[in-house]
């Protein structure tokens, strides 16, 4: 296919000098319910195409939808976590348009009666600045099927010889979370957009209602952007960049669209209201469907479903199930664990918060937990292209193993280097720490006779060094300690050796 011509862009600094960006983010989250929103079909990702379908989600004549209560619960919990009002009474609505991957040629969605509305989410940026994102609404809808365009060079419909449709995804519950227009972000707009999506992702993950995997499409982001000249309060014409599906892409797409809009406006042109396609590889957007105000989805209340009127009691019961917000929880844990900001950020980025929390709860020290989970195992996980929690689960290594390892050190059975060897054994599948230490014969020598003999022998063999220590150069004892440790094959407590040498020489 012929790629649409690349649009002109203005430099980011120039763009921001002349214009203020206005952003709106629409995030679709697939709920992780066992069954679809309006039928009993399974929702397993990656199943054989069209193996998870039935008359309802295929839109066969005569089939009728029935609301999945778990889907409504998930929607309400997301609404509550976003500080939204929960509707006393709301309905589904039909959004009518024709598309081959939409079985009924209307999407069962919500229109002017969303289940949740008027909320907010505080987003913390890298430097600690907090930006409040106002939430317009979070409504329920169903996903469409997936089209696979065959024969074109890019997988897009243009140039394809034919298309295949997989309806497994059709009818999977979606929550669409729409922000109010975000103004005043200025040059930090791309950063805020990314932080908002990241915060939303963590929040929804903590709720346990979705796996929010952007790479698998269970969380998808559309970026609406417009510019207004500095000093103006009138929003410009917006573009809607669809399917921006990674945190990095969200940031880049906002940045790119600011630069593109600015170039159009600077040259005296008018921004076209249209959808844009995001190209991950090149980092640019290209024009998609032109969107005019004449586009008309002919929404009307879905007559096949009865209204949803969650009782206030049920809403409060769901509110009680909300977990501590991830940001607040991180702050609390950081303070309890005594980690520095940098240490905490590393732990968060490595996805270790849960493991460390479990390990500390099981009895390990916060420092020990961090040390063991972020050392050798992290290096190995990285090598396997996975993260520590998944890797540990795969190996069968648990917080209890870390607790046991640390207690072996505390009890004086192992020194640090022996503990590292034991940990390698644990990671190598040799068993629990004590068993590994036993099997490998790793144990600090407690026999003072053997130690005494070794010290005597080393002093005798290094008379000149011993003399220096006698003369008051205590730091010279280090060489003797090393010799003794070597003699003891590492199985001695270095502190005890040092004490013994000094006692003999001073």
């Amino acid at each position: 296919m012929t790629q649409a011509t690349t649009d002109a862009t203005l430099s980011y600094d120039e763009a921001l000098a002349a214009y203020d960006p206005v952003m709106g983010l629409e995030v679709h989250v697939e709920l992780g319910t066992k069954t679809k929103m309006f039928c009993g079909c399974a929702t397993t990702f990656g199943a054989e195409p069209n193996s998870q379908v039935c008359p309802v989600c295929l839109g066969l004549p005569g089939a009728l939808p029935v609301v999945n209560e778990k889907g409504v619960e998930g929607a309400i919990r997301i609404g509550l976590a976003l500080n939204c009002e929960i509707a006393q009474w709301c309905r589904f609505a039909r959004k009518n348009y024709f598309y081959p991957d939409m079985p009924k040629n209307f999407q069962t969605s919500q229109y002017d009666e969303p289940i949740s509305y008027d909320g907010w989410l505080d987003v913390e940026l890298e430097d600690g600045t907090v930006y409040r994102v106002e939430i317009e609404r979070a409504h329920m809808e169903e996903d469409t099927g997936k089209s696979l365009h065959v024969g074109g060079s890019t997988g897009r419909i243009h140039g394809a010889t034919h298309s295949l449709v997989d309806y497994n995804r059709a009818g999977i519950p979606l929550i669409e979370i729409v922000t109010k227009p975000m103004v005043g972000a200025g040059e930090r707009a791309p950063e805020i957009a990314r932080a908002y999506v990241a915060t939303l992702r963590d929040l929804i993950k903590a709720l346990g209602v979705s796996d929010v995997k952007m790479e698998q499409g269970s969380m998808r982001c559309d970026v609406n952007l417009s510019l207004m000249p500095k000093g103006s309060n009138t929003f410009g014409t917006r573009s809607e960049t669809k399917n921006v599906n990674s945190l990095r892409s969200v940031e880049r797409a906002v940045r790119y669209e600011i630069q593109r809009h600015a170039a159009v406006l600077q040259s005296g042109g008018a921004v076209t209201q249209e959808t844009r396609h995001w190209h991950e590889d090149t980092g640019i957007t290209t024009a998609g469907r032109e969107k005019s105000d004449a586009e008309d989805y002919r929404y009307f209340p879905e007559p096949d479903l009865v209204p949803i009127a969650p009782s206030r009691e049920s809403v409060e019961a769901l509110r009680a199930t909300l977990p501590e917000p991830p940001a607040a929880r991180r702050k609390r844990l950081q303070s309890a664990w005594g980690y520095s900001d940098l240490e905490m950020r590393d732990v968060v980025n490595a996805g270790l918060v849960e493991l460390i929390d479990e390990t500390v709860t099981a009895g390990a020290s916060p420092a020990g937990a961090r040390k063991w989970w972020s050392g050798e195992i992290a290096r190995r996980a990285n090598g396997e292209g996975t993260d520590v929690p998944s890797y540990a689960a795969q190996l069968g290594v648990t917080p209890a193993h870390v607790v046991e390892l640390e207690s072996l050190v505390t009890a004086g059975r192992l020194n640090d280097s022996m503990a590292r060897q034991v940990w390698e054994g644990v990671l190598g599948g040799e068993g629990a720490p004590t068993a590994v230490a036993d099997a490998r014969g790793l144990e600090l020598v407690q026999d003072t006779g053997a130690l005494d003999a070794a010290v005597e022998q080393v002093i005798a063999a290094n008379a000149d060094v011993a003399q220096k220590v006698r003369d008051g150069k205590v730091q010279a004892a280090g060489a003797l300690i090393g010799q003794v440790m070597k003699e003891m094959k590492g199985q001695a407590d270095a502190a005890a050796v040092r004490e013994l040498i000094l006692a003999k020489l001073t």
């Binding site: 004549p61 005569g62 009728l64």
Partner: protein
């Protein structure tokens, strides 16, 4: 023997089957033979399932012989309107666009019939997607009224009404969105009930207008209608709008046929002007019969009914325009590649298929509905219609405070001639003026014969309406009236219908 079987009521057949006096195979075969003899002239069926019906009949006979406890209607055959999905049997809704589609699942109603052990004889003709009052909008040609083959059998359920009136089946199913069970019953001298909305599952009924559609029973007697109603009805978790309450005691009400002390309201707006003289005359006589049976008459007024037709023709097309969007050639049914386009897009195939697959009446209503839902027009059309719908509902509620049931003629006229109103949609729509209010309010209604109009000798229907979930009142009143009329006539009305076997030989197609 055969003639005696096919003119029997379902209740009689059921009793004789249970007593072992007759087999289901005999009963089913008799009806299939009748179809072979007369359906060339009547054209009630779009599809006849000779083998399937007989297989079910044999199975029921075997189970009965083994001493198994069976449903009261087990072995009694039935015809199913082609709007209900039947696993393995074609379901076209009278439309070209569903030609060749074999549903992979049974509608809940059909599942109930199968569970009861009722052999399914075939699928009955209908106006395309139930849009019409005459079956003339069927893509497969109209059905004919057994009283006069030049006349309409009503619609959309004219296949089901004519199948009963021509003795090809003792029972049939119907769906009623604005009168599609009651008006065909009226013009063919048969009985039909539109239950309370939500009383019978809509799962597997190909939707016309979701908020108005309701499946119901069709038969030749009030008791048969009640027995079939009971089989079809009941809560269905697959239909969100299904009512989770016990089915009213309709069969018992039909058997007791008691109207003593019942207040019967005559709706002022649904009588008099605009109603054919003979229709009005038979209606008045029936009201007198009910007074004689111990009922009390009150007059009620529902002024908003004047707007019912207009309201209906905004709500129905709006919902239909969306419900029919799924017929797009992508997954099932007809697929027509556009002419003169090489390598057409999916949208072009959709457009060409819908153009070729839908008839004019369907297109008319899709266009009306699409317009009514458009932004800028929504409030004025769909929004206003919903408000009037509420008014109509409120007026029913008020009327039912004065009367236990309401009555009217079912249709303003007797059966008109095929072709008479085909070019005048408004005249066609007006035929449903008395039946539509019940659909807008979701209340139950029944039509039963009140005699023949003196001026044309054609059947006249008597309509009874009751409050929601009070369907049993229809049967109490209907059975009481039927008993008095039967006594007055000395024989069922249909006994005076023409002998079709003689006619059929001449007009066999």
């Amino acid at each position: 023997m055969t003639n005696e079987i096919i003119t029997s009521s379902a209740a009689d057949l059921a009793a004789r089957l249970a007593a072992g006096e007759i087999s289901s195979v005999e009963v089913t075969q008799a009806h299939l033979d009748r179809t072979s003899a007369v359906d060339g002239a009547v054209h009630s069926y779009l599809h006849v399932d000779f083998d399937g019906a007989l297989a079910t009949a044999r199975e029921i006979d075997t189970r009965r012989a083994a001493g198994e406890q069976l449903h009261p209607l087990a072995g009694v055959p039935i015809a199913v309107k082609d709007v209900m999905t039947t696993k393995g049997l074609p379901t076209t809704c009278g439309s070209r666009i569903l030609q060749g589609w074999i549903p992979p699942y049974d509608s809940t109603v059909v599942a109930h019939l199968k569970a009861a052990g009722m052999p399914i004889l075939g699928k009955t003709n209908m106006d395309e997607f139930a849009m019409g009052s005459s079956t003339e909008h069927s893509a497969y040609g109209p059905s004919h009224n057994p009283w006069d083959l030049e006349r309409i059998p009503g619609g959309s359920g004219g296949g089901s009404s004519s199948v009963l009136a021509s003795f090809q089946a003792p029972l049939a199913t119907g769906t009623d969105t604005g009168g599609s069970i009651r008006q065909p019953a009226a013009v063919t001298g048969t009985v039909g009930t539109k239950p309370t909305y939500g009383g019978v599952s809509r799962y597997g009924l190909v939707a016309l207008a979701s908020s108005l559609d309701q499946a119901g029973p069709c038969a030749r007697t009030v008791l048969d209608t009640a027995m079939l109603h009971e089989v079809m009805a009941g809560y269905d978790p697959m239909d969100s709008t299904s009512i989770d309450e016990p089915v009213p005691a309709i069969v018992e009400a039909a058997r007791r046929a008691d109207v003593t002390g019942l207040r019967i309201g005559i709706v002022k707006e649904l009588t008099g002007e605009g109603f054919q003289a003979g229709v009005q005359q038979r209606f008045d006589e029936s009201v007198q019969h009910l007074v004689d049976a111990g009922a009390e008459i009150v007059e009620v007024s529902c002024p908003s009914f004047t707007y019912a037709l207009a309201t209906y023709y905004l709500i129905l097309p709006s919902e239909a325009s969306s419900n029919l969007a799924k017929f797009d050639a992508m997954r099932y049914g007809l697929r027509v590649p556009p002419e003169d386009i090489d390598d057409p897009s999916a949208e072009q195939v959709m457009a060409a298929t819908r153009d070729a697959g839908f008839g004019d009446e369907v297109k008319r209503r899709i266009i009306l509905g699409t317009y009514a839902l458009s932004s800028g027009y929504y409030d004025a059309y769909y929004g206003s219609a919903q408000k009037v719908r509420r008014l109509i509902s409120d007026e029913f509620t008020a009327a039912f405070e004065k009367a236990n049931v309401l009555v009217s003629p079912t249709a303003p006229t007797t059966a008109f001639k095929l072709g008479d109103k085909l070019d005048d949609p408004m005249a066609m729509y007006l035929n449903d003026i008395a039946t539509i209010p019940a659909n807008l309010a979701g209340i139950p209604g029944m039509s039963l014969p009140s005699g023949l109009a003196p001026e044309d000798g054609l059947p006249v229907g008597f309509q009874i309406l009751a409050p929601a979930m009070q369907d049993q009142r229809l049967y109490a009143v209907g059975a009481a009236l039927e008993a008095r009329l039967l006594h007055a006539w000395g024989a069922p009305l249909l006994a005076s219908a023409p002998d079709l076997t003689a006619v059929a030989k001449g007009t066999s197609r």
